[in-house]
Symmetry: C2
Subunit: 335 residues, 2 copies
């Protein structure tokens, strides 16, 4: 588990494509009170809707940790960004990153951090050894978001469900399993960076024994019909031992993103298949609902589409961005 000192300044470098700034947007959306500044180079065209500052200004505004809010392709820190990070370290800020390239493996940054006393936090670092999963049933209740593909709203849906349960006064924790989720939550385990033998063991550790009325809302990863990531999905599913599953789907997406030879099987198939696999470690698992991304649906058709899902699959179906997740929360109160 990692801990990030608050509040944060979000570093965006000179990013042009909002999709590359997923981490920054996630932080600005889910931890607005802790995000005091965005720090951009002159050519950056992305805006998180929070005050733009330089490093000195952000520090004056109280920022304690600079978070790299961008995932550049290749997962490495461009040289110009590295200079900005160095400036932040020299000013005494901690720096957190979810990149494949580790801050702690860049000697210049490590030396500067030693001098200033800054912490360099690599969220994807999991050099530690986890246990092989025991399969032992744990106390407390768990809900896991699963998907028909990557980037269909598993993290967003889990965060929305967590927030709604908090507002209902439920005893609940969000459990982050990916780098952006970990940066938003300040804690978690980057499941996709764990050694394969220990993936379900790491997932067991992510949601430990808890009070009987406690909910863990676990952020899902990958998709069970994804030719690259299905193993990550299955390992997280088995170790999580979910009581409730939520299926996340992007309505209108017909094939796995960037895998044109891999059509996405039907919703019905997913509802059956995930349940069969999840029953290995929790016989009582059931569906709590569907979170549908309707951003590709014409606004006039949206309600019909949602109604059709509800009718066909006999469970709540919401677009969490538009409808909220109350219908799913209703289900959870029956567990």
């Amino acid at each position: 588990m990692i801990t990030l000192e608050q509040p944060f300044a979000i570093y965006l470098g000179n990013v042009q494509n909002p999709l590359d700034a997923k981490t920054g947007f996630g932080l600005a959306q889910w931890r607005p009170a802790e995000c005091v500044a965005q720090i951009k180079r002159r050519t950056c065209s992305v805006d998180l809707g929070i005050p733009s500052m330089n490093i000195a200004q952000a520090q004056a505004a109280g920022a304690k940790t600079l978070i790299i809010g961008v995932a550049p392709s290749g997962g490495t820190l461009p040289h110009s960004w590295q200079e900005d990070v160095l400036t932040a370290i020299e000013a005494g800020l901690h720096v957190a990153s979810g990149l494949h390239q580790r801050l702690n493996q860049i000697p210049e940054l490590v030396k500067a951090a030693e001098r200033s006393g800054s912490h360099l936090i690599d969220v994807r670092d999991t050099d530690r050894i986890f246990n092989v999963a025991s399969g032992r049933k744990r106390s407390g209740k768990r809900i896991l978001t699963v998907g028909t593909d990557c980037c269909v709203g598993k993290k967003y849906s889990a965060l929305a469900i967590h927030r709604a349960l908090v507002e209902d006064g439920v005893n609940v924790d969000f459990r982050a399993s990916g780098q952006t989720g970990i940066l938003i939550n300040g804690a978690g385990i980057p499941i996709d960076a764990v050694i394969s033998d220990f993936i379900s063991g790491a997932a067991e550790e992510l949601s430990p024994d808890n009070d009987a009325d406690h909910w863990d809302v676990i952020e899902g990863q990958g998709a069970i019909y994804h030719p690259g990531y299905a193993a990550v999905t299955l390992g997280l599913l088995h170790g999580s031992q979910p009581d409730a599953l939520v299926l996340c789907h992007d309505h209108g997406r017909n094939e796995i993103d960037e895998y044109p030879d891999f059509p996405i099987p039907s919703i019905e198939d997913h509802l059956q298949h995930y349940l069969i696999l999840a029953r290995l470690t929790n016989k009582n698992v059931r569906w709590a609902g569907i979170c549908l991304n309707t951003s590709h649906v014409h606004p006039d058709d949206r309600q019909n589409v949602l109604d059709e899902y509800r009718r066909l699959y006999k469970m709540p179906c919401v677009d969490p961005l538009i409808d909220g997740v109350d219908d799913i929360i209703q289900q959870l109160h029956q567990y």
Copy 2:
């Protein structure tokens, strides 16, 4: 891919339980011509059936590489063994190990190896980054052994099938996916030690494009209903894109070893479930047969048991240790 200089001396330390010497037995059985010696401490009660020597004698007999033939519980090298390994290094032998603890992380051994020019080969080391699986169909033919549990004969069956195909003059390679298989084969990828995100990508790399008539015989890992290792099994299955599957089962084993709460589902269930999962990356996958461990069956009942499997599942069923794998090879010639 790793390369081991031949011939080998097998180090057994003071091991008492033959099951702990699985790697040593595998090497003695599958590479007898290369195993010139076993090296044991005085209290070792295990015997591989090859000449016992000390390090100087083994070297005089031609040994170039000392292979740690034991997996001590905890995966670390006991101090007394470490002294023996040091002696071997000082004598100029290379040392290979599949332990979790890396030879290359024991400073005393590393220093000695620098002086003597010995190579320290950690078979489980996979610090390198693999690609995420592409799902692209590769040329050539592939057979993968899969199991109903760990330790049911997946490695043995794959090696037996490989040997039979070699004897038939078929263009074939054995593809090792675990540490013992890699030590036997001299090459391979330790799939269970790969970062989860890249497991199917590593499996794709293990059996690359090949001639249309070429077979890769891929050593399976774990089991699809294993609460700890199913993710490893699925990742290897998807990346291997097998044309043929062989199910390995220990007749009479009713629950996952060391997981008494996890009964092993029926053979029929396994035959269906593996096929459904494998079809994601190869629509044409089919069963080539069942390799049954009949060591817990009374010799008088053995033939009846095998006949019953053949009748029920309508495919070859052999105990590869007793019957050989000819019936399965017959099937492969029809691919």
